[in-house]
Amino acid sequence: MTVQGWTFVMVGLTFALYLYLAFRARVRDTQGFYVAGRGVPAILNGMATAADWMSAASFLSMAGLISFLGYAGGVYLMGWTGGFVLLALLLAPYLRKFGHYTVPDFVGDRYESDAARLVALLCALFISFTYVAGQMRGVGIVFARFLEVDVDVGVAIGMALVFVYATLGGMKGITWTQIAQYWVLILAYVIPAVAISWQLTGQPVPQIGMGSTVTDAGMPLLHKLDQIHSDLGFPEYTKAFTGEWDKLNVLCTALSLMVGTAGLPHVIVRFYTVKNVRAARWSGFWALFFIAMLYLTAPATAAFARYYVIDSLQGKTAAELPDWYHTWEKTGLVVWLDDGDDRLAYHGPAQQAQNELFRIGSLTAEQFATIRAGHQQWLDSLGAGGRDGRVEMTAKKLTGPDADILVLATPEMAQLAAWIIALVAAGGLAAALSTASGLLLVISSSIAHDLYYRMLRPQASEAQRLLVSRGTIGVAVVIAGVFGIFPPGFVSQVVAFAFGLAAASFFPVLVLGIFGKRTGAVPAIAGMLVGIGFTASYILGTVYFGWSRWCFGIGPQGIGVVGMLLNFGVALGLTPLCKPPSATAQAMVARIREPEGAGPGVDIESAPEH
């Protein structure tokens, strides 16, 4: 069977599995819809959280990014895992003890203010929508690349699937499908990594293989990579702090991603689904354990793929290029504009003029065809006519292959069987769908619970609330799909925005709400507004309005840390000047600090209604 045939089989089988699980887990009450009845065992919640968290970006793009960034790729690895330590130690057990349905719920009740609830609600919606747009796009791209259907059709198929299982089963359905999706995506990620490690170093464990000797080259892989990189004009692979990744930016970006991770509402809400505080702590451990399976493999895949890509392309003639190159050249993820010697040359920033490897990026097929035709003319006329396409592509910053190519092409580089390549497609879809469904649930519960039930119609009946929840998920799926089909050009930059905003808004408010008894509504709201205002204007200013990076040269990805510090500073500074929270709120803080089963007022199941 061909790769495409296998892909249809794999995708069909996994989709059928998700639908079956969702049908088995369909729900009839809001508790089941929002928090899966609070009966999810810690280890299973860990798997679901891992799938919830690992998005299309983790699965498809991260290894590629690391591969191009070398050492600096560590900011994503540390950032997206380190946040779980903050989450597990500072937030998860306490929020579970509090026992509501959503993050805005905690903010609103703890600070006894609907204004605070509304600010938190708007942040949750903004973060979730920017994130989910990327996931839907990811679904479309996987469909387009592996099944050769249109991106838009792919997005529509993904929308239909998420719509069915999220409206049917709510959080309960999502939990079971996420568990299945975790195993699909982790197998799809690890199998090719093991195979390629075995081929390159004779060592089956990728994390060890990465530090081992390359059989062909006779020296350690990372050492060899450093050498190749300096020969070709790239910064050394393992060298710290190159280019714009100076020490301050690496530090701020890593910290921003960590704090942002801890403040992302779709991850936090998963901790509401377990039975008690103890289970919340353990599911924090299991979540990071399962996430680490992928995150420890990614840097190994990155290093192997980097070596393979350079080794199999550099200096080759068209006839010598490997099959995977031709596969992905069709999609425009990698293109070659020769300088006339018929041998491919791939060079880094220091030897930019000699580089012949590019990607189409955001150019349309017509735009690139024009560049290619001009380049051919330039070649044929020996420089007299036409235009050197390499200069044009370099000016558009489209040098080198697309980062996404690495994970997609790794199984082909390692010459794995067709069904494993098909499994990678199913894995990419699983990663995108699991994250999308978690985010859609946050959107739905924010609107149906926080806005409709808590703020607009507190007298709404259970059946009405469930209907509104299902309705908003439906509307949210459609909006997300529209974003996926007509992606706003800023999607990739907007992800930095989501983390920065989560870091500058939620994290300080939640930490102060739990660890600072004295902090009341005014300092909390002021802190949130200052944090968000600063972070949002700095990101918008530097990305769109050409501001210089006036804040110590920190880039937009790392600025969330400063926003967070400002938020903490303002809130703590105002606290002594403002009224302390009421006795009810103080009693609530005292109660969430007590573990379950000790002290008064611990009946956790009655908490949502109090």
Binding site: G74, R278, G284
Partner: protein
């Protein structure tokens, strides 16, 4: 009762603080601030700073949460036993 609760909270804060300190030292310390200096040492085929940034810190993160879950479980049990004892003392008192 209140004294016991305050004691529990203090032990909780101490544990959290120590673990967060370790968290900061490995990731932000060894993985970033000292990475260029640590890269002169090697762990097998890995430059050390690079290893901390891409492998070591993640492994340690998992271990930190494990230690937290285990230790907090112990603390909870001790706390519950203490409250139990206080309650018994109170009901035995004349």
């Amino acid at each position: 009762m209140l004294a016991a609760n305050a004691r529990y909270w203090r032990s909780n804060l101490r544990l959290t603080l120590v673990l967060l300190l370790l968290w900061a030292i490995t990731s932000l310390g060894c993985g970033v601030l000292l990475a260029d200096w640590l890269n002169q040492f090697h762990l097998g085929g890995f430059p050390l700073g690079f290893w901390f940034a891409q492998q070591g810190s993640i492994v340690l993160f998992v271990l930190l949460i494990l230690v937290y879950a285990v230790q907090m479980g112990r603390l909870d049990r001790r706390h519950r036993a203490e409250l139990e004892r206080l309650r018994n003392d109170a009901s035995n008192a004349p």
